[in-house]
Symmetry: C2
Subunit: 393 residues, 2 copies
């Protein structure tokens, strides 16, 4: 009975992402690396036991939305204020230089005879998009690695935390802008108006929801199922509204919904519940689905070279950008190096962005391979390099 | 963009099942009644804003599996032993008489000119199947109602609890037998051998998994994500194995996986996590999907009469069967009445069974309407009647 095959798929995805995740951790790497490898192995690239289905794709999409929703809930507005100006400068430099670097690499490779993409958008947008992917720093991976080293509370640690939060927001704005531009039938001023309209709608909806939710949830002291479900409905509606009314990425809506929830008193309770929903069902399917789409072995010689260069550029531009930003804000050389290294890792955010871009025709599906390589290598290298640079400091 | 419509569907399902669930509770009814009504209202029957999709159907299937898995984890083997022989007799009588009653009603209606079904199976199996649906008592609804009345610890309450547990198991065996018989190309002795093989496989897999899991999970004192995920993998594999290797219902496999987990030390931790996964995402989709399939307004005059009579028979046969069983075990008249009334409610189990049967061609889709009516009315009537009969006692 073919109709029940999806149960076996689910079991394989859950088991392999967890086992390889734990193996990753044994080697001092974040578990997400293992989850990606699991998808690569199960997918058409290696074993070919699981292929993309509508069920997996849609569940993965809900998975990304919940992931970004959780990231929004984790956004610490207070921490942001503390590290202040320095974090903004570090994040800005850490976005601009990788953006330029990614664009330059893509511009060199994206031409007839080297890498010919079939993506629907203009070549300029395609190249910029590679830059956008390189801007994303993964907060969770950075924080986890610093926690393990016991260096989260240092001056450099605080700067990284603040910069990572701002980096996240800048990355989402960049994604939003390029997502809107991808639809070539729309004029730029309409796109900008839509984005402005989106933020007005978010502020209005966020304000109203916050008022309603705070008054309503205050009635009972402890967290209740209804609070969690209503907050989920808010997240889904924000995601849907973003895509359907404003042409903005659904994950942007979900992220901002999370930021609004982070301001409410039931935040911790809600976050813990979504954490369970995420790790037990949605996230493994999302991460595995990325691997399943990656199809690594189909890479041509040019794509392999592109992957290697893109990875090197990803590492160097982030280190240079954030290090330079730190120097501008009068951190010493050791701290600037620590901050630069601490920002290297690209995690789920880069994959989410790439995945989104591929769906919109901003990126050819076979470039998912290089992106997965960038994510895997930067994610592995960051915690490995963090140890020596923080010991020295 | 039609591809994002499923986000709106999810939001609507989550919101409406919760709101109507809470409204149900205001009227002293279990929340599942409201969730079913939500599906009916959203579905093609009333508003027609959500239709069946592969994503909803598969997610609903995972939902049923997790629901039955949780029911398995809640099975209290100790409680069963305490109430002992009486519970067995009550449950048996409470299965046999509704089975006969359902069969009789179906036999009368299932003929040309009254209700002509297009189900794939023989008329005999179809009629028996209606009886099988009537056997299922919902433990959760009964327990919840008794808890609210503070009568769970009475002699009658204990008997109901024990009988409900056995009733669940008997119902699952009945479903298993009829599910296997539904495939007409298979000889009966092969079916029986398969069922025997299934139980042998469950015992072997259960024993091995229990040994492995107990040793492995004992290494860490507290519950960990890996324990929850591995137990989920076990549940999914048991469900898949049941369907694919033995032709047994997937929910039977999931239920038995739950019973095995209920014997482990990490049971409470695992149950709490699946509880979250279930209420926050999977269950609302499952209950709503039942309503979405129900298509009430398409009922002909004959189907309406059938619904009314089936509902009356469902109530009277359960009361008569369980009451008689109680009298046989020397309970007094008041207690026998309490037990009979306590067993009336059919809940998610009856819907799960009906849903399963419809998928297998044991029941025509338009008979889902009468079943939903039986479930809604018995679920509403049971807690309403429980109050006066327990006050009197």
């Amino acid at each position: 009975m073919d109709t029940y095959k999806f149960l076996l798929d689910l079991a394989l995805i859950l088991l392999s992402t967890k086992v390889l995740g734990l193996v990753s951790r044994k080697f001092f790497m974040p578990q997400v690396v293992g989850a990606l490898l699991a998808g690569l192995i199960l997918g058409p690239g290696v074993l070919d036991v699981i292929s993309q289905t509508d069920f997996i794709n849609k569940t993965a999409e809900v998975g990304v939305i919940v992931l970004m929703y959780c990231a929004g809930m984790e956004t610490d507005v207070q921490e942001l204020k503390k590290s202040g100006k320095a974090s903004v400068v570090i994040a800005l430099m850490g976005v601009i230089i990788p953006l330029a670097g990614g664009y330059a690499v893509a511009m060199f490779f994206n031409r007839p005879g080297l890498i010919e993409t079939n993506a629907a958008c203009s070549v300029f947008l395609q190249n910029i998009f590679i830059g956008v992917i390189l801007t994303a720093t993964s907060v969770s991976i950075t924080v986890e690695a610093l926690k393990e080293l016991g260096k989260l509370k240092t001056r450099a640690g605080n700067a990284i935390l603040g910069a990572a939060v701002i980096d996240d927001i800048l990355g989402i704005i960049a994604l939003t802008v390029i997502t809107s531009l991808a639809d070539s039938s729309v004029k730029v001023w309409v796109v900008l108006l839509k984005i402005a309209g989106f933020f007005v709608a978010v502020i209005a909806a966020g304000f109203l929801f916050y008022q309603f939710f705070t008054r309503w949830s205050r009635k009972s002291e402890k967290g209740m199922r209804r609070h969690v479900i209503v907050s989920f409905v808010f997240c889904l509606l924000m995601a849907y509204m973003a895509e359907d009314f404003f042409g903005v990425a659904d994950i942007t809506g979900a992220y901002l919904a999370g930021v609004i929830i982070s301001l409410t008193i039931k935040k911790d309770y809600i976050m813990s519940r979504f954490d369970t929903l995420s790790y037990l069902y949605l996230s493994p399917i999302f991460f595995a689905s990325i691997g399943i789409k990656a199809a690594l072995p189909k890479m041509s010689y040019a794509v392999v070279v592109f992957s290697v260069i893109l990875t090197i550029v990803a590492i160097l531009t982030k280190m240079a950008g954030c290090g330079l930003g730190a120097k501008l804000c009068r951190y010493d050389n050791d701290q600037a190096l620590q901050i630069g290294v601490g920002m290297i890792s690209r995690g789920e955010v880069a994959l989410i962005v790439a995945n989104k871009g591929e769906a919109l025709g901003l990126m050819d599906q076979y470039l998912m391979g290089p992106i997965v390589i960038v994510v895997i290598i930067t994610t592995i290298i960051a915690p490995i390099l963090l140890k020596p640079v923080f010991r020295k400091g």
